[in-house]
């Protein structure tokens, strides 16, 4: 589904990704771990097509197509979904309005009829209920005044409604209480299927207890320095990143370990 070869990218002239190789097949779940500032979010943003992240080398194929040649909104309609590490607030635009525009954009792109307001509301409400979200969230402005955990839940709600083929989740588990973590994990697990793939960036072992990955990769200084199975995550939990070849300890602040 996704083949990344020797991907290099810079931000403001500063090289951040320095040769990433990664293959994700349909049906798989990959976890990406690594110290702060190692380039995990940058990788996600580059895959989603964010302006300002300049690809300086390598290639990315998605379902056989050149992903990097597609406009960001086309990537989205083709089924690439990014759950943001820091979801953005949009004052005055309701969650419902954004999501309806997004869903109908995707449906048009796939040759499906657009949903009218009634069908749309029924679909969203059903998903919200499953995620334990109050109805009024629909009518609040996108992420405005949402708590950290509510924002993350909202990202997963959008994912459930849009049904992407490739979900990139950037620290969607950060800042969640125990119940919310379960809800988010359920949302991700519901996404699993032979036609879909998930790449999730996380610092914590605890998410991986709920969503068991097929592969775990460690990103450090813009490269994948180690790949393995679920056990690798456990080992990292125990030993941190320092022991890995070429892995740097976090540059600032205490190393992020299992959350309290």
């Amino acid at each position: 589904m996704l083949e990344i070869r020797n991907l290099q990218a810079s931000v403001e002239g500063k090289p951040i990704l320095r040769g990433i190789d990664l293959e994700v097949k349909a049906g798989e779940v990959h976890a990406i771990m690594g110290p702060n500032g190692s380039g995990k979010s940058t990788l996600a943003q580059v895959l989603a097509g964010r302006e300002g992240y300049e690809v300086t080398g390598g290639e990315v194929r998605y379902l056989g197509h050149d992903l990097l040649a597609m406009a960001p909104e086309v990537r989205a309609r083709e089924g690439v979904f990014l759950a943001f590490q820091y979801p953005v607030e949009i004052p005055g635009v309701s969650n419902a309005y954004l999501l309806k525009a997004a869903l109908n954009g995707v449906r048009r792109h796939r040759g499906l009829p657009e949903l009218d307001a009634m069908d749309f509301l029924a679909l969203v409400r059903q998903n919200m209920k499953r995620m334990g979200m109050a109805d009024d969230m629909l009518y609040r402005s996108v992420n405005e005044g949402f708590s950290g955990g509510e924002k993350k839940r909202n990202e997963i709600l959008q994912m459930s409604v849009l049904e992407p083929r490739l979900a990139l989740l950037d620290e969607t588990d950060s800042g969640l209480d125990i119940d919310a973590l379960q809800v988010v994990a359920d949302g991700i697990n519901a996404m699993r299927g032979p036609e879909r793939a998930v790449v999730m960036v996380t610092h914590y072992q605890r998410l991986l207890g709920h969503v068991v990955p097929d592969f775990v990769h460690v990103l450090s200084q813009g490269r994948i320095v180690r790949s393995g199975g679920r056990d690798l995550a456990l080992e990292l939990e125990e030993r941190g990143y320092g022991w890995l070849d070429g892995a740097a300890a976090p540059q600032a602040g205490p190393p992020e370990r299992a959350a309290p």
């Binding site: 097509g49 964010r50 309806k100």
Partner: protein, 499 residues
């Protein structure tokens, strides 16, 4: 955009439904100015230029009583002694007032149509094309329309129905003929011809407009609306609107405007006077979409307008809502004089400037009565090389015990070649007054755009969505049909402003 205050008045439901209902946004962003066509009608047009003879001619063509002619001539003589205001933050080449045509009417209108059935079909088609059908069968439900074409009113719908309630809603010319006592009593009582350069010019040469009188205790059951259309070339449009809500009366009035695309600039200098007596309520909404000029700034309407409401009676209430997306230059400050005790004035505005458009707009709230309250919410959006200035005056007179004002001005910038300025003036002469002012300026965030695009929404739709969100508080003040239209306009007006 960091703001502590919650919206003064949260009424989410309507706005939300509106947002859900308005699915049409997508198709909009790629449209050009839609109303730019020219109607081919034979017109009765005066030669260019202005002197007392032209004014006499206009007055004679309209069969006016002597007091009107005298008033016009006084205004003209006053105008000759005045100079164009230079304080506004707008730039344009000097206007040659002798190069403008001051009267143009479709020839078929010479005698004035007896009823809508007599109106030239070509004119009816024009309004149909603009989405304002005038014919009995197709009239907009719940909206009575007075259609003004160049210098004259071509017809008013639902007149008979309103007359049953004692409501007078007709063209200004007709009001002068049929209700001279009302006109004489109220004309110029809010905006005297001495008020400013453009108001004086308007008083001298105004050709038509709408008139409305709602008698005591009557709540007007439908929206009243005027649709202004400039068609003829080199013609100025000088219309005058006078609305009187007598004691306890309520009325909601909408104004819409369009003009063909032309390379020359055309002058529009209107005056609107509102009078609310005891316990009366007037809601005045405008969606202004005059031709803004092309992308290089060629052509477009100069919109120099004086709008003022007088809360003359106790507990009266006047609210202005405007969505200004058109015109090359907009210069207008809908204001309220809060004379009656406990009277309330409101101003809700969205002004959008794109390409080379310039807007200098805002409001004046003059508090005279006790416990008078006013609210100003102004949203300025600048894109391209657009320039947007908010200019507001809040004045609390000595007698205005307990007066309160709340003002908020938010500016949104798209791109880095546009500009926004805020000029708040506050004069407080009574120590018990409370005046609050908040302002913010923000740029459409690249992160907001990317977030929308990552959800599959195109950049243009995303801008339109973010802008509509920014304006929501104001849009929800508009009557429903207008709100949808205004949302579309914001989308169209921003075409080409991203990427």
């Amino acid at each position: 955009m960091s703001r502590m205050e919650p919206a003064a008045d949260r009424r989410p439901d309507r706005g939300e439904n509106m947002a859900l209902a308005a699915t049409a946004l997508d198709e909009l962003v790629n449209r050009e100015y839609r109303h730019g066509f020219v109607t081919d009608v034979e017109s009765d047009t005066l030669a260019r230029g202005l002197d007392e003879d032209v004014i006499r001619l206009i007055s004679r063509k309209k069969d006016e009583p002597d007091f009107m002619l005298e008033w016009r001539l006084k205004a003209f003589r006053r105008w000759l002694t005045m100079t164009e205001p230079a304080w506004a933050s707008v730039h344009h080449p000097p206007i040659d007032y002798q190069d403008i045509i001051y009267y143009s009417a479709p020839r078929s209108m010479k005698a004035g149509p007896a009823s809508l059935d007599d109106v030239d079909p070509e004119l009816l088609r024009t309004y149909e094309k603009l989405g304002v059908p005038l014919k009995e069968r197709e009239m907009l439900a719940g909206v009575a329309v007075d259609a003004v074409f160049d210098s004259v009113s071509v017809g008013t719908t639902y007149k008979a129905k309103l007359a049953e309630l004692g409501i007078v809603f007709c063209s200004f010319s007709e009001a002068v003929r049929e209700h001279p006592e009302l006109v004489r009593r109220y004309l110029g009582s809010v905006v005297p011809y001495t008020d400013n350069f453009f108001a004086a010019l308007n008083a001298a040469v105004f050709t038509d407009g709408s008139f409305c009188y709602v008698p005591p205790g009557v709540r007007c059951p439908m929206e009243l609306s005027t649709y202004f259309r400039i068609n003829a070339k080199n013609t100025g449009q000088f219309e005058r609107t006078l609305i009187i809500a007598d004691e306890g009366a309520h009325v909601s009035y909408l104004e819409g405007c369009t003009a063909p695309m032309r390379d020359e600039n055309q002058l529009h200098a209107a005056v609107v006077e509102l009078i609310a007596l005891d316990n009366a309520r007037i809601k005045y909404s405008t969606v202004q979409n005059w031709y803004p000029g092309d992308k290089e700034g060629k052509g477009g309407i100069y919109n120099f307008v004086t709008k003022r409401g007088d809360c003359r009676g106790a507990n009266s209430h006047i609210s202005w809502t405007q969505v200004e997306t058109g015109s090359a230059i907009t210069w207008k400050y809908p204001s309220c004089i809060l004379r009656g005790d406990n009277s309330v004035g409101e101003f809700h505005s969205v002004a959008l400037t794109n390409n080379h458009q310039q807007a200098d707009t805002g409001s004046k709230m003059i508090h005279i009565g006790r416990n008078t309250r006013s609210t100003i919410v102004s949203k300025g959006i600048s894109a391209g090389r657009g320039r947007n200035a908010y200019r507001g005056l809040v004045k609390i007179a000595k007698a205005a015990e307990g007066a309160r004002n709340f003002t908020r001005c938010d500016s949104l910038l798209l791109g880095d070649r546009c500009a926004a300025h805020t000029f708040p003036y506050i004069e407080v002469k009574n120590p018990t007054a409370k005046v609050e002012h908040e302002a913010s300026t923000s740029r459409i965030g690249e992160d907001q755009l990317f977030y929308c695009m990552q959800r599959g929404i195109s950049a243009e739709d995303a801008v339109s969505m973010i802008v509509n969100g920014f304006c929501k508080e104001v849009l929800k003040e508009l009557p429903m049909e207008f709100a949808v239209e205004a949302q579309k306009l914001l989308g169209v007006s921003l075409e080409g402003s991203v990427g």
